[in-house]
């Protein structure tokens, strides 16, 4: 059985085009509502997050589940009315406020302990990031993204011809934009935030999904030499077919542990794993259906112009 990717290329391009369009629209809507294309975590904008769990080992401490109202009241009393409060599993409290200094935070913790109940210090989590540090984290994250794109372009153009490298990068943009788009939508509908781990996941997606493209291009190059008589489309269709099992399987084996992290890994790693899952899946798609068909289209056009020139 052999299937031809190049024949239905308009179909593959439409799917990707739609996905990218939706992603961009989501980011634009997000930008117009919260002034950022993706909902930033305090890693990037600064702030304080307190996660506290009621000490349920103490008697009568967990008689009733926590409510956001009682916590909001305490926050308002301390002039922190614009903070967000989340209750996790009835007895765990997550509060996100502006950057609090040690005095303000201690005051808040004391008030919570007095008015709500005893919180267990062994399960506490405090994250405070000053606004300047946040901006720095964001800047260095973006710089890392740009630099690795650049590093990969240089490496690929050194190993392949320039047009291969260019289309590999187009495929990478595709993966990154779609991952970001999904998180823009999650940010809008479920308040999911992106933190520095999200930038890390984007970089990992770049590093990993270029693999798939490289393997296919490797085969394309080999086949151009082995079967010089076949048309460009046929050569590329063959290469995609020959590497298809490998492309699907390597993506699957990378996704399996990611699903494990997503299911068992706890809150910190959950969305990190999700970003990687989306990115890797998009990466497999773009390598098989986009990078290959774009290259075929470009090389055919090149050949046509060459033939015209010769005449």
């Amino acid at each position: 059985m052999k299937f031809s990717v190049t024949k239905q290329r308009t179909f593959w391009w439409t799917i990707s085009g739609l996905a990218i369009f939706v992603s961009l629209v989501a980011m634009i809507i997000s930008y117009s509502t919260i002034k950022a294309p993706l909902r930033p975590n305090l890693d990037f904008v600064g702030g304080t997050r307190l996660q506290l769990e009621l000490a349920c080992a103490e008697q009568n401490n967990c008689s009733k589940p926590l409510t956001t109202d009682e916590v909001q009241n305490i926050l308002s009393e301390q002039g922190l009315g614009n903070s967000s409060v989340q209750i996790i599993d009835n007895y765990t409290l997550s509060i996100r406020t502006q950057t609090l200094d040690v005095e303000q935070r201690t005051k808040l913790q004391t008030a919570l302990n007095e008015k709500i109940g005893q919180f267990d210090p062994e399960t506490i989590q405090i994250d405070t990031v000053g606004p300047t540090v946040g901006r720095e984290l964001f800047r260095s994250g973006l710089l890392a993204l740009v630099l690795s794109f650049f590093g990969i372009i240089v490496y690929l153009s050194f190993r392949f011809q320039f047009d291969y490298a260019f289309f590999a990068i187009v495929a990478l943009f595709h993966d990154v934009v779609i991952t970001a788009g999904v998180f823009a939508i999650l940010g809008l509908v479920a308040n999911v935030e992106v933190d520095s781990l999200f930038l890390v996941s984007l970089l990992t997606i770049i590093g990993f999904s270029v693999n798939d493209t490289v393997v296919i291009y490797d085969r394309v190059r080999e086949n151009f030499a082995l079967t010089p008589d076949l048309s460009v489309s046929e050569v590329i269709d063959n290469a995609v077919n020959q590497t298809l099992g490998r492309s699907i399987n390597t993506t699957l084996t990378a996704l399996l542990p990611l699903f494990a992290i997503f299911l068992f890994g706890g809150t910190t790693l959950k969305f990190f794993a999700l970003a990687l899952i989306i990115g890797f899946a998009a990466g497999a798609y773009s390598s098989i259906f986009i990078a290959s068909t774009l290259l075929a289209w470009w090389r055919e056009r090149q050949q046509k112009t060459e033939i015209i020139k010769e005449m």
Binding site: I152, L156, L263, F272
Partner: protein, 466 residues
């Protein structure tokens, strides 16, 4: 054949070495896993001093180390980060309130004059304090011992009292770190070292006045950093008339090059005008950390299991061989983490788990190639060999791109991100070794030693019938 046996011996040797390393050198856990507080302290330039030089940052770090030591936390870690930050790790601290208060704020260096009639009291108190500090230093070398920890806590408490008592024996005279221009160690005769001080004009006058009052009395000049005494020199009688003038002075004593430098750095740190502030605080309770470890182990084990099962079902015999390589991979990888001293954090663990999935990639590439060669009618042995040979360039290209991303992350990233980049990067390197060496050796040995296999290519690919 000979070569394969050598490689097999090498692999077995490495596996044994890895197990020994893992038993001897347990992996270090980050604060997000074992619980504790991590504070990033930002050093801020002032209107007068707009740039922070590297030596300034080192001096600030010394000041912060002094403050951290006074907190009485076991195994604290203080290091400089970038050009203007100091990172403080306080394992086990879940209530960083006190630490945040103590660590913020400009360093306070003060020169004070000993009160009259306190000579006896001071000598006694100072001797006890020195003894306590020596004992504390000894105990700190072996902090994990619970008996030591208890004693350390007691000593910290008494030291604090002793510090306050000593501070009260000295009068402030308005000469502070602001007036100190520089402090450097300088060699005298033989192996002896001094610490040379230089004051600004105002400081020079105050220092002359101070030394005039103290000269020949036997009372000390107290130098305090953040209210604890770091040096208590006496002034010789020859300065009784005018004091030490000219704005320069030398502290002599039994200094070695090292102790002279320590004191000079403390003095410089105290003279810096930079305010410091806690810019980032990441605190995780110990129970929460243990919970994360448990979850990570579940995720890691189930991730590994899923990959192993998938490979065995899809690739049959080679899949099983890849599974063995993968387990060897996991062992070697963890041993490398222990050897390199990687601190395992949550993202670091994620990087490792992910690298398990990616490590299979090279095997998949090779096996797919091998299948193709079998289909093309080559013998099993030749197919395996050319499968490895022809897949190599793809493996290399793919891994180099991942390593580029890791290198950038490691170079630019902050603490947690670095951990991820390091574990993933080490993972990719180790995986190239295990895929190319382990899988290939095992596969060739099986094919060569069990001739019966050669009649059963269906073991290599379910769709092929012998």
């Amino acid at each position: 054949m000979q070569r394969q046996q050598w490689l097999l011996a090498l692999i077995i040797g490495l596996v044994i070495a890895a197990i020994v390393i893992l038993i001897q050198l347990p992996l270090q856990l980050g604060l997000d896993l074992r619980g504790g507080a991590q504070l990033t302290i930002q050093v801020k330039p002032t209107a007068e001093v707009t740039t922070i030089r590297p030596e300034d940052l080192t001096a600030v770090k010394t000041v912060i180390e002094n403050r951290v030591n006074a907190l009485g936390v076991s195994e604290p870690l203080v290091q400089t980060v970038g050009g203007d930050k100091v990172l403080v790790q306080l394992p086990g601290v879940t209530d960083p309130e006190q630490a945040e208060r103590v660590l913020g704020g400009t360093a306070q260096l003060e020169f004070r004059q000993q009160k009259q009639g306190t000579e006896g009291q001071f000598t006694a108190e100072y001797t006890i304090q020195r003894q306590m500090q020596l004992e504390l230093e000894q105990l700190r070398k072996n902090q994990s011992d619970p008996n030591n920890q208890k004693r350390i806590a007691e000593l910290q408490e008494s030291l604090k009292k002793s510090n306050d008592a000593i501070l009260n024996l000295f009068d402030p005279i308005g000469l502070t770190g602001k007036n100190l221009k520089n402090a450097v160690p300088s060699p005298t005769q033989g192996t002896n070292w001094d610490v040379a001080l230089r004051f600004d004009a105002d400081g020079g006058n105050k220092f002359a006045e101070l030394t005039k009052n103290l000269a020949g009395t036997g009372r000390s000049l107290g130098i305090f950093l953040d209210n604890s005494l770091i040096s208590a020199p006496v002034v010789g009688p020859e300065f009784a008339a005018t004091g030490i003038t000219g704005g320069s002075a030398v502290i002599t004593g039994n200094f070695t090059a090292e102790t002279a430098n320590d004191l000079a750095v403390q003095l410089r740190g105290g003279s810096l005008p930079f305010p410091v502030e806690v810019a980032e605080n990441r605190t995780v309770g110990a129970t929460l950390g243990q919970d994360s470890i448990r979850r990570s182990i579940y995720a890691g084990v189930s991730g590994l299991a899923l990959v192993l099962v998938f490979m065995a079902i899809y690739y049959r015999l080679p899949g099983l061989i890849a599974d063995i390589s993968l387990i060897i991979y996991a062992l070697l990888c963890l041993a490398c983490f222990a050897l390199v001293g990687v601190t395992m954090t949550l993202p670091g663990i994620a990087g490792f788990i992910l690298s398990i999935g990616m490590a299979v990639d090279a095997n998949v590439l090779i096996f797919e190639r091998t299948r193709e060669e079998i289909k093309a009618g080559k013998s099993l042995y030749r197919s395996v060999e050319s499968g490895f040979y022809r897949a190599f360039s793809s493996i290399l290209d793919g891994n180099v791109t991942t390593l580029i991303a890791c290198a950038v992350l490691f170079w630019l990233g902050s603490g947690l991100v670095k951990g991820f980049a390091l574990t993933l990067g080490i993972g990719v390197l180790v995986s190239m070794f295990t895929a190319i060496t382990c899988s290939r050796t095992f596969l060739l040995l099986t094919v060569l030693n069990l001739p019966g296999l050669r009649q059963k290519p269906e073991l290599f690919s379910p769709t092929l019938k012998g």
